[in-house]
């Protein structure tokens, strides 16, 4: 394989979940209840996160509301097909800064499976981070949540809480 002759992309991030909830409910909690399950530590707002909102229409905003009432854009809605599918543009770049000229794609599909719902999640177009590779520095140490350290702390807390 000649890696110089073609553009090779990192694999998309994929997760497939089987949720014990109706399709309507799974869609509603994902899109309308994001502030209820998003990790509060993962916030762009120094005042802390109050809510995460997605406007329910194509072209709608995806944004965070801080405890001080201020808002931070995260992206926008590319496709809104309740309760089957939602496609979001994640417009936080490699430095965890909102950039209206940058976007990667988050697609979530909801498929009924008896009294459960299969949720197929994909975050793709990750090669676009590379287009701003010069901006990629060690910002994960100081980025939107303190990077690796706080993430791993979160894992530890979650694991030990069970």
């Amino acid at each position: 394989m000649n890696v110089e002759a073609q553009r090779i992309s990192p694999a998309p991030i994929r997760h497939s979940l089987r949720v014990k909830a109706s399709q309507d409910k799974a869609f509603r909690i994902f899109t309308g209840g994001m502030g209820g399950w998003w990790m509060k530590s993962h916030s762009l707002n120094p005042a802390g996160q109050k809510d995460v909102l997605i406007e329910p229409r194509a072209g709608g905003r995806w944004y965070e509301v801080g405890n001080d009432g201020s808002e931070n854009e995260w992206g926008r809605v590319l496709a809104w097909e309740a309760p089957d599918r939602v496609v979001l543009a994640w417009q936080l770049n490699a430095e965890w800064t909102y950039d209206p000229d940058f976007e990667t794609t988050v697609e979530v599909r909801f498929t009924p499976d008896g009294d459960h719902t299969i949720v197929d999640f994909e975050h793709r177009d990750l090669e676009r981070f590379g287009e701003k590779a010069e901006a990629v520095r060690g910002d994960y140490e100081t980025g939107m949540d303190g990077g690796w350290r706080s993430l791993l702390d979160g894992y530890q807390s979650a694991a030990e809480a069970d």
Binding site: I8, P10, G33, G138
Partner: protein, 103 residues
């Protein structure tokens, strides 16, 4: 500066991606990685060499061992970070979806 196409090529191989994911958990020596993954130690070394050239991982000496870790300045860090981030977030989503009866 890290060559981004080199980074992507390095990550596109499933075993190298698995190595990056393991190293995202904690820094490890070659032998530890070989014990965790279904590949030989020489194969792990070869993968690590490519990952290092792509600036996805870096290494340092600890006594007679070389310890490998995610290079925080590399693109692999972004993907590995996002992978873990979504893994944890989606687990919280499932808990929320299965908990709430109405809203």
């Amino acid at each position: 500066m890290a060559n981004s196409s080199a980074a992507f090529a390095a990550l596109a191989e499933p075993m190298r991606e698995a190595i990056v994911e393991r190293l995202a958990e904690r820094p490890m020596a070659v032998g530890e990685l070989a014990a965790l993954l279904p590949v030989s130690r020489p194969a792990v070394s070869q993968h690590l060499k490519i990952l290092k050239e792509a600036k996805l991982v870096r290494d340092h000496a600890e006594g007679t061992r070389r310890i490998y870790a995610i290079d925080p300045a590399g693109l692999g860090a972004i993907r590995a970070w996002l992978d873990r981030f979504w893994d944890q977030s989606l687990a919280a989503f499932v808990a929320a979806a299965e908990r709430e009866d109405r809203k």
